[in-house]
């Protein structure tokens, strides 16, 4: 029985690869399977290689794995590019010539079908665009997918926007593709998937989960400037925000975005912005101000490949240290790194509570791989969502106060907050060093106390932060430390290692700052070989750990500067080499 299966759809930007992949993913999910998707696409307008992988499994999966069972290629270039990834007994459907030109060694063990999608679509429906439906039909034959479900998804997709005729033609094209595939393939070439009941699950991307989390957490102000791969948060918010009474503003740039969110937060909204690499660098000054002025603002940063404009459509964990050590001056900050779409939702909710409780900027740090790809998840638990606005004083309370001090020296360093418009709460939010009431004060004694006050705020924050999650065996020689979207690869590497008789544990960092030094130190001390796994060149997470755990034993560092998702293989191999 097939329990795990990967389909890759490959072609050129503009070919409809994305659409086809999305429908397939949804179909598999509705059929009861766990799904993980991966888009590999260029930042170009059109014409360059792109591919979309849909992995599905009967078991819970967090990542892509490192095998492709079926490749559906819109052209031969795609085959050449992806042939090495295709598994033994893999099947390739290819539009275009050239398959025959492949050397036998390369194609051994794989089945090739010439599948002239484009010409079929043109002949039958007069338009190439139907090739995508034909492809989907063919795939549903090979995987023995539920055709009713496919029809249902087609109609959901097109009915509202395009009408019944379009739905009908698309359904027909899918049926046509189904038949074509049946004619072409033998029964042994099929990979029929069992059907399960689709339970209370959703298929969602990290960016969408953050948007949903924001709405759930009461975020009613969102200001941003478009940038890949963070714009999807915006896309997911913009339609629903008005229904919640809130507003989404497109600003002229990222400096305005963060400053505007800060203004909104000061005025009383739960406010947020989102960005990626270049935009994050542009936010550094206002980030510092939020820290100084103690304004509660949430910044979602979906990392893409840098430096500079870099590679806007490729993922990386290359901006980790910037949020922890970046910007000028010293101020408290919280950096959260969700590792699953579920955590994207939960941590966003948590972020809005933390930000108002601790009155310092909170960063939600994810990556393109997390933000733009889809994962199945339990439906998010709305009953667990609680709103805690921290030391926000109510108008009634203000009247009772003998003179409101916005930056009052309190034992925990956190001061009461009033909102403009409230009587008796007048204060100045000040970017210069200031006294308890918010007025500029450059005295030495005040400075020392204010610095202390601000920095002390997070001393007791550990109770509210997401502690590291430890996966795997209680006792194991090999330990992994990672965060964010490498989680899937690490977990599968652990499975593979276990098969190879190497037991391992995995500490998933979920809060990067304040750094959970105790837990990490303890984890490290209980492992013989520790490997920090991260998707960047220089080993930023390892650098962070070393800087916070001292003395610290030597750490292995498995890094990847690849433009593609981290694979289990990239972890298993160096570990085996090191421990054997």
């Amino acid at each position: 029985m097939i329990k795990d299966m990967s389909v890759m759809i490959a072609g050129k930007a503009g070919d409809g690869v994305l659409f086809t992949g999305n429908v397939l993913a949804k179909l598999l999910k509705r059929q009861g399977w766990e799904v993980a998707t991966y888009r590999d696409f260029p930042s170009n307008i059109r014409g360059e290689d792109t591919c979309y992988t849909v992995r599905s499994s009967l078991d819970k999966i967090y990542g892509l794995g490192d095998r492709v069972d079926i490749l559906l290629a819109f052209d031969c270039a795609a085959i050449l590019a992806h042939l090495p990834e295709i598994a033994e007994n893999g099947i390739v459907f290819c539009d275009g010539e050239g398959v025959t030109a492949l050397s036998p060694e390369k194609t051994r063990g794989k089945t090739f079908h010439r599948f002239l999608l484009r010409s079929m679509a043109r002949e039958k429906y007069g338009r190439e665009i139907f090739k995508n439906m034909i492809a989907l039909g063919a795939l549903s034959y090979v995987l023995d997918l539920d055709r009713d479900l496919l029809e249902q998804i087609i109609s959901e997709t097109f009915l509202k926007r395009k009408g019944e005729d379009v739905v009908r033609t698309n359904i027909e094209a899918a049926a046509f593709g189904y038949e074509k595939a049946r004619e072409m393939t033998t029964e042994t070439e099929r990979h029929p998937l069992t059907r399960k009941e689709d339970d209370d699950r959703i298929l969602i991307s990290g960016d969408e989960a953050i948007a949903l989390g924001a709405l759930a957490a009461g975020c009613r102000f969102f200001a941003a400037y478009p940038i890949c791969p963070a714009s999807e948060i915006w896309q997911a918010l913009v339609h629903d925000m008005p229904d919640f009474g809130g507003v989404v503003v497109q600003t002229e740039d990222e400096l305005a975005a963060l400053n505007m969110a800060i203004g909104a937060a000061f005025a009383g909204a739960r406010a947020m912005t989102s960005t990626s690499g270049p935009g994050a660098s542009l936010m550094m000054e206002a980030f510092s101000m939020a820290g100084m002025a103690e304004v509660p603002v949430v910044i979602a940063h979906v990392q893409r490949m840098g430096p500079a404009t870099g590679m806007p459509t490729k993922s990386q964990q290359g901006d980790v240290l910037q949020w922890i050590f970046g910007s000028h001056g010293e101020f408290p900050r919280i950096v959260l790194a969700p590792g699953t779409v579920g955590e994207c939702f939960d941590m966003t909710v948590r972020a809005f509570n933390l930000v108002e409780k601790y009155q310092c900027p909170v960063i939600l740090l994810t990556e393109l791989d997390m933000g733009q790809n889809y994962r199945t998840s339990r439906t998010f638990d709305l009953s667990a969502v609680r709103i805690d606005r921290g030391k926000l004083v109510r108008p009634g309370e203000l009247a009772a106060l003998p003179g409101f001090k916005r930056y009052e020296f309190t034992p925990d360093g956190i001061s009461p907050r009033s909102l403009p418009g409230q009587k008796n709460g007048i204060h100045v939010v000040e970017s210069l060093e200031h006294d308890e009431r918010g007025y500029r004060d450059e005295g030495l004694a005040n400075r020392l106390r204010m610095m202390e006050k601000r920095m002390r705020k997070l001393d007791g924050a550990a109770v509210d932060l997401a502690p590291p999650q430890v996966w795997g065996f209680e006792k194991a020689d090999v330990g992994f430390i990672a965060c964010g979207s490498t989680l899937g690869a690490v977990l599968e590497a652990m499975d593979e290692l276990r098969e190879k008789k190497v037991a391992s544990r995995f500490l998933q960092l979920r809060t990067l700052w304040p750094f959970p030094a105790e837990e990490v130190r303890e984890f490290i001390s209980r492992s013989r070989d520790v490997f920090v796994v991260e998707h960047n060149f220089a080993g930023q997470l390892a650098t962070l750990i070393k800087s916070q755990i001292s003395p610290c034993q030597e750490l292995g560092n498995i890094v990847s500067a690849s433009t593609r998702e981290f694979t289990p293989r990239a972890i298993v191999e160096p570990v085996l080499k090191a421990v054997r």
């Binding site: 959703i202 298929l203 629903d240 229904d243 709103i387 418009g421 009587k423 204060h427």
Partner: protein, 286 residues
Amino acid sequence: MKEKRGFHLTAPTWCKGCGLFGVFEALKTVAASLDFEPEDLVIVTGIGCHGRINNYFRAYGFHGLHGRAMPVATGIKLVNPRLQVLAVSGDGDAYSIGLGHFLHALRKNVGLTYIVVDNRIFALTQGQASPTTDFGAVTISTPFGSRDFPIDGPALALGAGATFIARGFSGEVTHLASLIERGMKHDGFALIEVLSPCITHNKVNSYDWYRKHIVHVESISDYSPRDKAGAWEALSHPGKIAVGLIYEEGKPSFEDLVLPDRRKPIASLDPGVDRTRLRRIMEGFR
């Protein structure tokens, strides 16, 4: 609050004779005459001598970053349109580092009153040239004379589609106050540029100098602030600086356009969890 005193927090420590005192006085006058309470007013300032006004004026205040008063003020206004949001910048703050934000808030017609205190110099940093510094002026940053052609704020605003443009002079406090008051009543973005001597770092553009160069548009026969061509013309005389209400037009404000319901400020919403609606959205991901 009908008393100016209610807005006076403490005596400013600007240099004696600084034009900012005129702005301060005018603002207090307007605040008292418009009859709102200090807590209903938020003053968002930039960095510069002008920015110190938060320390002297009793109201909610936000003294943020150099050049970023506009986005901060916009965020405040959108979240609570009931507040009177007043921004104060200098010529450096508004026209140099903050130029882009200024024009974007303006074209969006956000309901802000923007007072740009133009002393033709970067005063707080000890006297470098600003975008309004005269061509040829010697400053510490331009020891051989400035080689930049100055910007005219109101002209720029006109080209950018402003709905309210005024210019006052800190040597004429009553007139200035009347302009600010009108600006505050304007539904949308109101620019009030203030010609304001920096007696310490700019010895050229003094009170006397301004008195010699200003022309009140009220004194131009048939001048109508509703006539764009006329406004353009009034701003086109080299060596003559038009003051007064230069241009005004009616257009919906940004907050009216984008807020679901202006009478339900976001600030007063209960950020409670609307589980039904959220569940419906989540259904879309099945």
